[in-house]
Assembly symmetry: C2
Homo-oligomer: 348 residues x 2
């Protein structure tokens, strides 16, 4: 794997730090936030590996990040992109890192590394996952952020001893994965959507009860679902007033767990008496924390579970477009348009 | 202890259930919510004891309750009052309950029992605490709700391994108790008040840093205190926008623990990204839950701790008035007027 070039093409960040805004994960124009340029190919040290990127993913968290609205500060001039797949082409002196050289892997970024929207990405050995034979490249490019978040959150529901859970924005890729994982584990999911057309696909995937937040009978149907299934965990990607309404309707002990913030609306804190007298809590979930804190066994089980499902065809990464890296600044925003379209991948 | 009367005087609730309002713990006119009448003296069964009330307490939670704004539904015709002191005059067949007959006790109400704003109150044996010799009756009447909440919350801070905490409305009786308990345990308290006059008494009691939320430099002083002491627990009696401001300023891992709701204002949910990326949580504390879930040793240690402090004179129940039960409907509201006045007790 010798003969690496000195420079590479990359989409690098135009800004530093946080923007202070909260526009949400909608993209108007990629060129506002990143630029295509030639930068040095980074050199792995210690536990690090260098991955030649085959396909890079574009997640809502990437858009949040390049806009300066994510949980980590931007670093001007660094390649963006949290996730992708490729081949490990070099490694630091760490023996395990060295052992990964030559392997096809899913890659997520790590502190001190560089982004995947580039020809090469630098990351920690713990942030790559060797891919099983038979797993498609596009599934590998989207293996970590969504599937592992789905796995970890459904695992959280199960470990909490719950028999059911609520999820919002359930027609997202992540929601679909949770619907099917929930069914496999015998958990009843109460899934909210905003369009009637999303109902039957979700039911087909395993969602237990699908509720349309835009229908006039939403709150009646919600109360009925709460009575029947008494879910104590809300997995929420939205964070708006309808999330607060669901939280209020949940039984005592209810946990509102935010893992995303799709709505720019800032809801009022719901009935504070419920926090005191019904022991309800509001908290967050971040995969990066889970990856740091979960046991090796839990992580291994997770990666095996998700790869198996992609290989069997039970899950599939729904790709609507693959753009060459250098066309992304001009074309990414329009390629991503339309609610609930498939993923757009980048090919360096 | 024989020869109990068939009927007793009591202040009984005029309404059932919840009101749906959230006016807060201000009292305009007690007669809107309770009436003085003769009712049957209840008969203890099983684990229950009957206490002849010597003094009953009036807490903010009592006012919330009679208004239908507390965590339990009202029961029309039942005596109100969550706390008091007196003598156990009869008991159910349970041997431990029988063993309490004749003892001077602090009493709090329990499910299936009756209130303390009456000549007699019925409660579970676990909801009475035998009083040490030397403890004044008025300290006994206010031993549980405030002192035990203060004890349990400071204990929570200590068990969480924190070295400091923030408390709002710190000039309340509860805040004063937490300031001194915090100092004894080596915890630095950051205490918010709304008047400059409350600063030095609180500092004298042991508050580490006193911040005035009404001063122009509040947010500067707050940021400074956060940097210096990095408290990860906020014990909040207010639940308004200034509570949310404190929560936002707290370091990663910060827990906003509501134990009261003095402000009728409903704040907006603070920066949801902090819940996700900084693992912050919003939760509640309710003494009734703590009393149910804490170990016998923790409870025993708590009751010993608080009684010892009252007997030594380190703590004192600040009583501004004692009203006969039959004068309460006309006089209680005016007796309670004025911010941070002492307690008003009722004498049946």
């Amino acid at each position: 794997m010798a003969d690496l070039p000195d420079t590479m093409r990359a989409l690098t960040l135009l800004n530093d730090g946080y923007s202070g805004t909260s526009e949400g994960p909608q993209l108007d124009d990629l060129a506002r936030w990143v630029t295509l340029e030639d930068v040095s190919v980074p050199k792995p040290e210690g536990r690090q590996v260098l991955v030649k990127i085959g396909l890079a993913n574009v997640n809502p968290s990437d858009i949040h990040y390049i806009k300066g609205e994510y949980g980590q500060p931007r670093r001007k001039g660094m390649p963006a992109g949290f996730e992708g797949m490729g081949t490990v082409v070099s490694a630091g002196e760490d023996a395990e890192a060295q052992g990964l050289v030559g392997q096809r892997v899913a890659v997520s970024t790590s502190q001190g590394g560089s982004g995947t929207w580039a020809q090469y990405a630098l990351t920690d050995k713990a942030a790559v996952v060797p891919l099983a034979k038979g797993l498609k490249d596009e599934d590998g490019a989207a293996l970590i952020v969504n599937p592992m978040t789905a796995y970890a959150m459904v695992d959280l529901v199960q470990k909490a001893g719950a028999k059911s859970f609520v999820m919002t924005a359930a027609s997202s890729q992540l929601g679909k994965l949770m619907a099917s994982l929930g069914r496999e584990k015998g958990l009843h999911s109460v899934a909210t959507v905003r369009r009637e057309a999303h109902r039957s696909p979700l039911e087909g995937l395993g969602a237990g009860t699908v509720l349309n937040t835009e229908r006039d009978d939403f709150s009646t149907m919600l109360d009925q679902a709460m009575k029947q299934h008494a879910p104590t965990i809300l997995l929420d990607a939205v964070g708006d007033t309808s999330s607060a309404t669901i939280f209020r309707a949940m039984p005592a002990g209810g946990r509102w767990i935010l893992y995303g913030k799709m709505s720019p609306e800032v809801p009022k804190l719901p009935d504070l008496g419920q926090l005191v007298f019904q022991m309800k809590t509001i908290e967050g979930f971040w995969l990066a924390e889970w990856m740091r804190d979960a046991s090796m066994e839990d992580k291994k089980a997770g990666f095996e579970t998700v790869q198996k499902r992609f290989i069997s065809g039970a899950w599939a990464t729904d790709v609507s477009d693959t753009l060459p890296l250098d066309e992304a600044p001009a074309k990414l925003a329009s390629a991503m348009e339309g609610a609930n379209k498939g993923k757009v991948l980048l090919k360096p």
